[in-house]
């Protein structure tokens, strides 16, 4: 997040990390970055099973990956799925959480518990149950059913940051201050509440995007080949050619990162003030 007002450090003395701190951070970075780095290297390696470093480097797998017939369609489907999920989540979650925070505070513990449920139900069970219940056209095995399922599945990721952001501002008093100045409910939401919880909305959207963009189980069981997404293609290629699958992974990472940067940029551009707000708190 862009931080327009960095607090000036008053002393020049730098805090030196201790050996233990360096070791802990190094181990953490190693653990987090090694798989990603290996994937990157593997996607450009000619052969990498007899030596520590690859024997040669090539871009062949990327060319083959881009030439795959399903490449653009699956990418498009994944984007549609992710963006639609974010939109539906926002429409469902933001007003609900706002109402619970301001008018129905007694329901908040219930909502908190409810939002853990998606973690408790195995994805396979959720998918099969949905397929059985919604087995009538036009919903049966349609992308719409998939979006509905993915919204439920990713709901906690949107709920938590939005709820925390609302907690951080005094939503009820701000609402009343807006009302007494003549604003109706929609004006209060759009001009006061949403701008002030925008950082929460953005981080929620990012979490939902990365979760949904990489979603496999629900997609595979609910729509399967009729609405093929990028992870489906990727998994398919792990069985055909590991290097091409690695190239797909790199593409997937890159898109997720680009999307994150785009979202953060849009957020900070539209709401410099809101970043300042959160900082001030």
């Amino acid at each position: 997040m862009k931080q327009p007002q960095k607090p000036v450090r008053e002393t020049d003395t730098k805090i030196r990390p201790t050996g233990w701190q360096i070791l802990c951070i190094a181990l953490f970075l190693f653990y987090m970055l090694l798989p990603i780095l290996s994937t990157y290297v593997f996607s450009v390696a000619t052969r990498w099973d007899r030596t520590i470093l690859p024997e040669g480097y090539t871009l062949e797998f990327y060319i083959r990956a881009f030439q795959t017939s399903y490449f653009t369609i699956t990418l498009r489907n994944s984007l549609i799925l992710s963006v639609a999920t974010i939109v539906v989540s926002l429409i469902v979650i933001v007003p609900t959480v706002y109402w619970v925070h301001t008018r129905l505070t007694g329901l908040k513990p219930w909502l908190d518990v409810l939002m853990i449920l998606p973690f408790g139900i195995p994805t396979v069970v959720l998918a099969l149950a949905l397929v059985q219940v919604y087995n009538f056209p036009p919903i049966a095995r349609s992308p719409i059913l998939l979006i509905g399922a993915v919204v439920v599945y990713s709901m906690p990721f949107m709920y938590r940051p939005v709820s925390n952001a609302l907690q951080a501002i005094d939503a009820l008093t701000l609402t009343e201050a807006g009302q007494i100045l003549g604003a109706n409910v929609f004006q209060v939401l759009s001009k006061i509440i949403i701008p002030n919880i925008l950082p929460g909305i953005l981080s929620g959207s990012l979490l939902v995007f990365s979760t949904v963009f990489a979603e496999y189980t629900l997609t595979s069981l609910i729509v399967g080949a009729s609405f093929k997404t990028f992870p489906l293609l990727l998994v398919e290629y792990t069985r055909i050619n590991g290097n091409i699958a690695a190239a797909f992974s790199v593409v997937s990472f890159t898109i997720a990162w680009l999307f994150s940067i785009l979202l953060l940029w849009a957020g900070s551009k539209g709401q410099n003030a809101s970043a300042e707000t959160i900082q001030a708190r």
Binding site: D170, E176, A177, Q179, I180, L181, N196, S274, T277
Partner: protein, 355 residues
Amino acid sequence: MSYLELKNVSKFYSGVVAVQDFNLEIDKGSLVSFLGPSGCGKTTTLRMIAGFGRLDEGTILLDGEDITDVPPNRRDIGMVFQAYALFPNMTVQGNIGFGLLMKKTPKKEIKKKVDHVLELVRLQDTAKRFPHQLSGGQQQRIALARALAVQPRVLLLDEPLSALDAEVRVVLRGEIRRIQSELAITTVYVTHDQEEALSISDKVVVMNKGVIEQVGIPEEIYRAPKTHFVATFIGTANQFLGKVSGTNTVMCNHFHLLVDDLKGFNEGQRAVVLVRPETIQVQPDPPERKGWNIIPGEVETITFHGAVTRLGVNIYGQRVAADITVAHTKSISLNQKIWLLFSPDACQVMAVDEK
């Protein structure tokens, strides 16, 4: 001429009384304070005037119009909250202009009005800043400016100073009073701070347990409290419990007190006599003053309060507070035997709350 009128207003929270049968008329251009301990219903009443929280009974009239069921955003009322409630995402300018924007005021006019109210609260150079860049006192001034910018029919202030430092509080309450009289805006001010209420109000409404105890100008509230609660809540008052005897005497356990007026009391009725510390004189020698109350005692504590020194005097086992001037302090020492002296008209007699 009453401008804002509350008629038989009641509010219950799940059966428990928050405000009961509240009747009040507020004149146009006056500043009325609701004063009382926390939970007395003062904020609930204010919020009902603002339109937050429905009335369970009664009506509210503003300038002759029944606004009981009008939503808050259409009442044309300004409000300042205890926690400032400035919009963190907007600059000072944006905050103050918000109400005007909601009224679809042209941009040029908004700018003019924002500048005007900023001048009124003396914070012209903060227009481009964000709330978190201002001090608490400045934020509350901006909140006041924001409420005033829309030229509301009534201004409501909900404990606007209780989050601020003592020093800022005193300055700001003077400012609030100055601006209020300058604009002659009808104002309701909620506070639990008696000094605040007494110093800035045209009228004070003392509340307790959801009902009005007394309505009056500040001097009246202080000098002539009508109920036991008002007498003890406002200022400090010594209390002497006794029984009414004759037309001007209350018999206490070890002494009797001469009082001015016992109209409405029956012979033998239990009553409490209230005497303010500043009305009591302290003498080192037995005084002779006919018709005054003279009680011997022993000095137990001496507390310096600045302008006055407060003595804690033990009379027959009861601790009584008496204020003496600094010049007087030299002749008084701890454990000294002294005489308290006060006139009958310093005594306020109240019926004992038989609860």
